[in-house]
Amino acid sequence: MRALFTGALPRTVLTVLLALVMGGVIMQVSGKDALNAYQVLFNSAFGNERALANTLLAATPLIFTGLATLIAFRAGIFNVGVEGSLYVGAFTAAWVGFTFVDLPGVVLIALAFAAGGLVGGLWGLIPGYLKARLRVDEIVTTIMLNYVAIRFTDYLVTGPFFVPGMANAMSAEVTPQAQLPRLVERSQLNLSLVVALVVFLVVAFMLRRTTLGYEVKTIGSNPVFARWIGMPVSRTIMLVMSISGLIGGLAGAGQALGVNYRFVSGFSRGLGFDGIVIALLGRGSPVGVLLSALFLGALRNGASTMEMFTRIPRDLIDIVVALVIFFTAVEIGFNWLRRRRPTPDAVPPPGSAAEPEKEGVRGNA
């Protein structure tokens, strides 16, 4: 899976170029100057220090959610619920940030991240428990719980934590010392990038070198075997879902403390779902996740400035982005997730895998 460095990288680059060309053609036929458009896109993504900073800014939450999704994938769990953890995490962090206003910044920030991660983790534990103990398919529960998280946080800021005079539902502002320090002048790029990178290192190490990582890999590749050999399968599944949720929660905390300085109802435009794309584009390797997060971040950041200077409508950029993802999807025609499906009679839970080989291919990224 270190594929990105061995031969696969050039291929990836090639397909991305192909996609960009396709997008260019579309722009041309609809009478836009594609070349110029891409120029702007590139410049506003990498052109100068601040452009780069903004790209990193856009990439930061994606790194989190990508890793959160990845670690679940590794255990053969398809966690669509990172979005939900992101919301509850964001609110919790914001709550800490505007409640314990007397604490010194360092403590407060640490506390806010911790709290956000904790609550995100607990949120992830719900589907984790249901899957591990009751074998409830996590795809359904996580999709459902996302909606719940979004509605519930919305309730919190329109009810108990209502702030008068706000046209949109949002929490109070987090106290200044809880607002994450910025890394670059006049860019919102902030400390949460560092946190993201730390999480990246931890996850990478965890997966490669620790007993947990080893158990995750085994369960992901053959849950039946894992239990027969004496691994704590249920516990690991719950643990993994919690960690996944925890990372999602950290992502939310980062956005709340570093970008919006509050919890804004419905603030995430599917950052959690981007995590799925990224984990897959990253071929299930942490490094891959890092790279694809940067890639998507650059695309997003570039796009938002692009539409400002080339009169190219946002939607067209969405199309281009979609094309890139599409082509990359084609290029990464590896099948460990294509196999993930319930045998049409009973959704195969971990431990009762009907087809270990297939189950095996699933998690083995």
Partner: protein
């Protein structure tokens, strides 16, 4: 539309919901285009897929692109604006729906509650009048908000106040569609209200509101439009529209910019008096609504302008008052609220 007579340039940052909401954003954009033609200024609408998250980036990018005036329609930009504006003293900024302090910031406020009050009053008058088509004997109105937030509630509460002013026994059903982009849900919600007796339904729900109006059209009751004149969307089924003339505000703003009179650190208040809010001309419903009603609405309008009638802006009530009122969002509740304000 680069024009010789002015080399000023204006950026308009579009709010959530985006262009095509046929209300808030579109209305502002109309004002922008008009201004572009009239004054020959260079105008650029800026849409973002994530206006909330990218707030600061958008503002900075716009400022650095050298626009003379940067107007943001996105409410949540008040935080970033306060941070960004000082870095660009040469640029004028303007934000709608909230006051942001700053020497180079012009805030634009609307009295949505007074406009909605008039709509509520009119609705209350027709709902019991058998002479008016598509009404029933029930003393029930409906109001649908896109999401629950005081920005939306100020419309709903103004509407309720107007209705109660006409008929203290009236009940106004309130619901939230939870999103601005889902007409199908809007339709079902409106139907549910109609089933429980509401024959006039006020929608403050953007694209979701489209469904409300459609429901009114094919089930035969009245919808009330919002922000821009939506009467034409279903002639004969939209009683009126509560106009929030963002177009006028934007147009004025640019006008004053061109005239060199635009002062930072000011607040432009748009109420009934300024025709910043009000109700539509009822092009398609005028002939079926008794003259007396529209006259009464005009009296109320005068009364509010004169200050004889006070309409509560629920954005600025205290925490206790709010909790009290929202646990009992009825005419009685309004009464209590009023008395608590009075004291």
């Amino acid at each position: 539309t680069r024009a010789q007579d002015s080399d000023l340039s204006v950026a308009l940052i579009i709010a959530q919901g985006g262009l095509g909401d046929r209300s808030y954003n579109d209305s502002a954009f109309a004002g922008l285009t008009l201004a572009a033609q009239e004054f020959g200024v260079d105008v650029v609408p800026i849409e973002s897929s994530d206006p909330v998250g990218e707030g600061e980036q958008l503002l900075r990018a716009a400022a650095e692109a050298g626009f003379d005036l940067v107007i943001t329609l996105e409410f949540s930009h008040f935080d970033p604006l306060a941070r960004v504006a000082p870095d660009y003293p040469e640029t004028l900024f303007s934000i709608v729906n909230i006051v942001v302090e700053g020497p180079n910031i012009v805030s634009i406020m609307f009295d949505e509650h007074t406009g909605s009050y008039l709509a509520g009053a009119l609705s209350a008058m027709v709902t019991t009048d058998a002479a008016v088509p598509n009404t029933n004997e029930d003393v029930v109105l409906g109001a649908i908000g896109g999401v629950q937030s005081s920005g939306i509630d100020v419309f709903l509460d103004g509407y309720i106040q107007g209705a109660c002013a006409i008929n203290p026994d009236i009940s106004v059903l309130v619901a939230y569609s939870n999103g601005f982009g889902d007409p199908a849900t809007g339709r079902e919600l409106a139907l549910a209200m109609h089933e429980s007796g509401a024959d006039v339904v006020y929608q403050i729900a953007g694209g979701t509101g489209q469904g409300v109006i459609e429901a009114a059209k094919d089930t035969g009751f009245w919808a009330v439009g919002v922000d821009s004149d939506q009467d034409y969307l279903a002639p004969g089924f939209v009683l009126t529209s509560m106009l929030k003339r963002v177009d006028i505000a934007v147009y004025d703003l640019i006008g004053r910019l061109v005239a060199g009179e635009l002062e930072g650190g000011t607040v432009a208040q748009y109420g009934l008096a300024e025709n910043g809010v009000g109700i539509s001309d009822m092009t398609y419903s005028r002939h079926v609504v008794p003259r007396a009603y529209t006259d009464r609405v005009n009296e109320l309008r005068e009364g509010i302008i004169a200050g004889d009638i006070s309409v509560i802006d629920t954005r600025v009530i205290s925490e206790e008052q709010r909790t009290a009122f929202y646990s009992n969002r009825t005419c009685a509740g309004i009464q209590d609220l009023m008395s608590s304000m009075g004291s």
